[in-house]
């Protein structure tokens, strides 16, 4: 709340700076804006930027540094017997101090209560000193910029330079996100591989991540062989592709080669609806309707079907991916030059013969690229498998059995109250790294193929 007030005050000050800069610029040109180098509003922006930016930087730096400064100061002030604790216990104590201080929880130790008091004191003092510093800086910068305003000041160029810096900074956001993903996955995975060897993880066939909390418990080792997960992911995505590729491709062919424009205008958006439905809805549908249906049908025929069969999850995932396959294939089929079709018609081929023997072969690279993109979607899809696939890591190729996938395991490993440092939670990051690498590779290959194909007919 205090922070919000401070920000509003700064905003008002900035707006005041804008008015001040504008009027001073006009005054310095004795009311005739044509004598100014830049429009009066640019002088206003110039002062406003000077006033706002340094203060915002100070605030941002404080927001980023506050937790670590607080952590250091509180840790130093804890009584000696608490400081002697192990690192993990100490982290728990600090967490409690924070909860007591911020949310008024009841402290379990008097020392924690004192520390919480101390925490709040430091926090308030720091906030007010930072607020005072940022306000003082804002006012000083405002005064400085205001003094510099004169008719020949190249205010527009200065302001535009600042805006351009912002534009460049914004565009690097994508790179920082990628770096952030790679770094966070890599660091946590490295910590995981300190306790589990990379070879065991990639080629082990036993997956049971349950780690015992006490060392004398049964099954305390925990096995992290991810092959059953990879196999399960491949099985479910394979089923999904078996559903999505024929249906998507055939509907794209019909849509681009046969359908009347009116039919197309109605049906195409309807198919796109399939892509717009949230995946959690598909997951609910799969678990509630499709899986029991398949199980019942299986029982009728005399097959044993697990109630969380890979078939149900794969089938529903396939439906979800149909629009990806169909719209991507639609694009590439439309990109095949008309002259190829006319050549085939001229030789007496029927429409379907033209499509099968001329259009599809010509569009094949693009279609393959589209299918690869869809496959990477299927592999990374999470909610459907979390809700409709099993949790037990079976190494099987039978679609009627329950299998688990990489994404399901990532979610189940991380949902719930876990200590963050156990191999169990870190395993999720290792799985995430595998997932990221595989989908990235698929995408790079697919985009390369699609682009290459586009160039061919451009």
């Amino acid at each position: 709340m205090q922070l919000l007030t401070l920000m509003v005050v700064l905003l008002l000050l900035t707006m005041f700076g804008y008015r001040l800069g504008r009027s001073r610029a006009l005054a310095s040109a004795s009311g005739n804006p044509r004598l100014l180098h830049s429009l009066p509003s640019y002088h206003g922006y110039y002062v406003a930027l000077w006033c706002g930016l340094p203060a915002v930087f100070i605030l941002a730096a404080w927001l980023a540094l506050e937790p670590s400064i607080l952590h250091g100061m509180i840790m130093a002030s804890l009584p000696a017997d608490l400081q002697g604790l192990s690192e993990e216990r100490l982290a728990l104590v600090y967490n409690e101090v924070r909860n007591v201080a911020r949310y008024g929880h009841v402290p379990s130790l008097p020392a924690v209560g004192d520390a919480a008091q101390h925490y709040n004191n430091i926090r308030t003092t720091m906030f007010f000193s930072v607020a005072a510093a940022s306000l003082a800086l804002a006012v000083a910068a405002l005064a400085y910029a205001h003094r510099r305003i004169h008719a020949d000041l190249r205010a527009r160029n200065r302001v535009e330079a600042a805006v351009k810096v912002f534009l460049v900074a914004a565009s690097t956001m994508a790179i920082f996100t990628t770096i952030g993903i790679v770094m966070s996955l890599l660091f946590e995975s490295l910590r995981f591989f300190q306790s589990v060897s990379l070879f065991d993880f990639l080629f082990g066939v036993q997956w049971s991540p349950q780690m015992a909390i006490r060392s004398d418990q049964v099954g305390s080792s925990g096995a992290f062989g991810a092959v059953p997960l990879f196999a399960g992911t491949l099985l479910i995505s394979g089923i999904a592709m078996l559903v999505a590729v024929p249906l998507g491709l055939l509907s794209a062919i019909y849509m681009s080669e046969y359908a009347a424009p009116k039919f197309r205008a109605v049906v195409k958006p309807l198919l796109e609806v399939l892509a717009g439905i949230p995946t959690v809805v598909y997951g609910f549908f799969a678990a509630l309707t499709v899986a029991p249906f398949i199980r019942d049908v299986g029982h009728q025929v005399g097959l044993t079907v697990a109630s969380e069969s890979a078939l149900a999850a794969g089938l529903v995932m396939g439906i979800m991916i149909i629009p990806f396959v169909s719209s991507l294939s639609d694009d590439v089929i439309n990109a095949v030059p008309q002259s190829l079709r006319e050549g085939a018609y001229g030789l007496g081929a029927t429409k379907s013969e033209t499509i099968r023997q001329v259009v599809i072969p010509a569009a094949l690279p693009g279609i393959v690229g589209g299918v690869l993109l869809a496959a990477s979607r299927a592999i990374g899809e999470t909610m459907i498998v979390v809700m409709a696939a099993g949790l037990a890591a079976n190494l099987t190729a039978n679609p009627l059995e329950a299998v688990t996938t990489v994404t399901t395991q990532i979610v189940t490993l991380l949902v719930g109250d876990q200590e963050f440092d156990s191999p169990k939670t870190l395993a999720a990051f290792a799985l995430g790294l595998v997932l990221f690498t595989v989908t990235l590779a698929l995408n790079v290959v697919a985009l390369h193929i699609v682009n290459k194909y586009r160039e061919k007919y451009d």
Partner: protein
Amino acid sequence: MVERTAVISPTQAAAGRLKQRYAAERRFKALGISAIALALGFLAMLLVTILGNGLTAFVQTNVRLDVTLDAETLGVDAVNPSADALGAANYGQVIKNAMYKAFPAVEGRAERRQLAALVSSGADVSLRKVLVANPGLLGTTQSIWLTADDDVDMAMKGHVSRQAGAEGNRLTDNQLAWLDQLEQRGDVAKKFNTALFTTGDSREPEQAGLWGAVVGSFFSLSITLLVCFPLGVATSVYLEEFAPKNRWTDLIEVNINNLAAVPSVVFGLLGLAIFLNFFGFPRSAPLVGGLVLALISLPTIIIAGRAAMKAVPPSIREAALGLGASKLQMVTDHVLPLSMPGILTGTILGMAHALGETAPLLMIGMVAFIVDIPASPLDPSAVLPVQVYLWADSPERAFVERTSAAIMVLLFFLAMMNVAAILLRKKFERRW
């Protein structure tokens, strides 16, 4: 003379083959139609399942009871009780007494407990609201509609059979008999389910509501929009209007395209590692959810923004520059306003996608069971799709109905956003 009857002429053979070829043509076409029909059939099946399961959730079975608001039972002063006392009074006992009065023949602890279980365990809250709003009712007997238990609700709506012992029916013979009596007296009715739209989550299906999740979604999406829109527009402006053609720009473009295809659950891992563990942001907060969703939607907005700016013809830019505008003035005064409909359409679609996103939010702890309505983006909160996930996991039959209703609400918001995007495009789209 040559015997021609025995030899099939080339034209005849061709005619025969032609027939086959036309048949193949028809088969191929039918195949295409059936593929489309199958895909749309699945869509229809999905929607029908959701509607069939969820429509009844918008009404809720209520039971009418003659409740005696007796000061002694409530445990408050008969004259001028304080507001605090009224808030903490024993409404549960009042409702039980009313229930016993309605069925005086019922004796015995076990039976009476079964009887009281016909009414929701949260009915006392609604009774409290009545009395706190109108303290003058103290000491009087009022005929009040109270929420029924979810098992009663399911039986009344026909989702489970009214036969005792039927699959999913958790009511006893006695309870069913009492329910029949209440129905004959006209004391059971289905009323609009206001709890669904005004309360937060609950373990009791009949009290569980979506409002907390709607507010949480609103906070998350606001944060997403605030972060994503300026960054997205700035990036598209830079890449489309200013960026030199060099390897750095190529790198940025490749990055954006790849980010668009990274599985969303990986973004959840990023949020967990960076926002929660590194920066120490609160768990389950819409603030973190919004930031993660912003990273996910950023590529969508950038791609849409660039497409919209590319569509603005170069002549506009040249005219602006020719009249002495600086490059930035050309962008802010001409290119941006002209491409704004396209950018906004892309933004709305990106937001719609973010609204339905679930997996990354599970990673940052937004799956907690939260009853309170969040008051700020820093409070723990659920969001709509996560609420769907949580309810879908609950075993009670009544939650199947609520889940479907939550999905309908979610789909309604998505449909509204998509319609807004389409209208925007239709109204402002310009062909140069």
